[in-house]
Symmetry: C2
Subunit: 404 residues, 2 copies
Amino acid sequence: MYKINENYLKLPGSYLFSTIGKKVREYSEANPDREIIRLGIGDVTQPIAPAIIQAMHKAVDEMGVQESFRGYAPDLGYEFLRNAISECDYKARGCEIAADEIFVSDGAKCDSGNIQEIFSVDNKIAVCDPVYPVYVDTNVMAGRTGTYNPDTGMWSDVIYMPCTMENGFSPDLPAETPDIIYLCFPNNPTGSTITKDRLQEWVDYANQSGAVIIYDAAYEAYIAEDDVPHSIYECEGARTCAIELKSFSKNAGFTGVRLGYTVIPKELKCGDVSLHALWARRHGTKYNGAPYIVQRAGEAVYSAEGKKQLKAQVAYYMNNAKVIYEGLKSAGYTVSGGVNAPYIWLKTPEKMTSWEFFDFLLERANVVGTPGSGFGPSGEGYFRLTAFGTYENTAKAIERIKAL
Amino acid sequence: MYKINENYLKLPGSYLFSTIGKKVREYSEANPDREIIRLGIGDVTQPIAPAIIQAMHKAVDEMGVQESFRGYAPDLGYEFLRNAISECDYKARGCEIAADEIFVSDGAKCDSGNIQEIFSVDNKIAVCDPVYPVYVDTNVMAGRTGTYNPDTGMWSDVIYMPCTMENGFSPDLPAETPDIIYLCFPNNPTGSTITKDRLQEWVDYANQSGAVIIYDAAYEAYIAEDDVPHSIYECEGARTCAIELKSFSKNAGFTGVRLGYTVIPKELKCGDVSLHALWARRHGTKYNGAPYIVQRAGEAVYSAEGKKQLKAQVAYYMNNAKVIYEGLKSAGYTVSGGVNAPYIWLKTPEKMTSWEFFDFLLERANVVGTPGSGFGPSGEGYFRLTAFGTYENTAKAIERIKAL
């Protein structure tokens, strides 16, 4: 008789955003007359930029003609895209990342979930708390996290690095040495970020302690301040200790187009074993590449027109962030984030729990946000709002919250 | 110090098609004047059908306009696509598969590689021999296969079910009871298939022995004969023992478009645990859906125009199959497959090994095929040619082989 992967049964409840979706659906069905504004899931609302639409039409046409039809893509992704990434995201910033150190994928969620596969089950992971749930959940599925304590909301074999108002939402080096360190800056969910000096400390720590950093830079495009690194490879020594994940979902609105990439420098080795080779093997065995049309869309992100249009798109969302941040502040909320990130992180009022505030906001203002506790125990008492709505909805939502 | 997943190091050599690619590249660089014909990888050559191109253009336009822009897709895939699949691939054939038992993905390779994750590492798998390498390799990566014997080309904890000329390339029920049984019909690589009665025996066997069948029906569109099942759910009792994988790569030429799906019936349970729920959890946690544009392309596959155009495309490839089959036969080769499948499976002449014949064909006829031994020990002495080339190239390749 076959047996299932029992680790799946350890996962408490369902995936955070599925739960939110269910709650909103139920409320909406019970109150069909209410206009609900969604500032919960980090999903974008602006349409794909014209330069990218044009590139996709061209690629679609190519696929319809024998001479230009493309079948299976190269394992790592098309060179035209990997070259553009290498030039614009790395070399232009002084980071030496070669095109063949870049693995094109269908998104950072998949990569951040799959990357743990190339590591032993015996490794101990460290995560910021609160944190994007995918890091922990996928390690639970792999059997790397021990047992769950429902009272604390913590796994016995996970090192939690609290990020709270007290430490400016920037994690301290952990007391116990981890094997795999997940970092995400600008941070999801807190919207806070890290200075280059501080990130350098993490790189040095990883190199000294023999840890590997999985650096999620999905929100890099939202960095506005000067001393905030756009890539971990801006730090010295990162090539021997860090994997970087990037997404096109937030800088180019590709949540429904699906594109991302992972960088593994050739120097990143565990003893004699190159992590680049392991990931290449996984990519080649379990994956068949992002669609040609989507890879051409990705290329257009780096065109002159594309860059200009996307800069405007990011500015649009960052204006929303400002509206949320300042609106909540003027209403007396304690808020952070929103300066180098599209997320605003607020303290729930009157000692409400995160889910109490979720229900309160849904029912009283018909606004959907994300409960901070869904991101980990230290997120309890906090709440996330995203700047990815339309300006009109964002402004309306903030007016409703202010009126409560 | 972090540790890697040591199972990866057990994998012998690189993924089959990467090795072929490397050999061809090297030969081509050394002999730039030679025109190489590729009948190796199962990659298609015909352009995407007009009805699908049209649907993709429309979807691209929708993504460029605020009102019709789509962000994250629903976890299981868009209903318009799941409904079309349920109606056309299942209900029209008398199989009761509901839309919410269908999980849309970016291809059958990914699904066939990922599906093992929801099962315990302690399960024992059974595979046909020869077999599509992804089934075994992904189980090696998960640590489910024991140790590799380079002399036999076999893993200690895998049950091999030889498919050779002697048993008509149809596996016998294994002597040792497996937990997970991988079946693929029409078969890759042998091009052979299975009758409905014979498949029913497998379903009964699985239900009686408590095994689960992972049924890969990627080549279903090539079935020409009447008593060959298009889906395992045509067999009674399959809903309690079988998962089915389907691809759009071969019936609609989506190797570069990327779309597939997995069916898990709600009745499929291990004790109290629904496999549907486990896979839904994996899908929701590690995956973000196929691109909207691609799901619309998939929908067009089931439109009246799409069906008509794809029927012609399949007929085009099946004519190639006939050219290969009859050409090789007339040249004295022992051949099988090619009737209900786009693959022709031939016995290498003069006791050449599969790789010897690969080199022979590459160097002497400049034709690329796939060595049977790359698919497993019982594939030694066999060779696969695909019907997915253009007619002109296929005819030319066969003329060259006949002239040897």
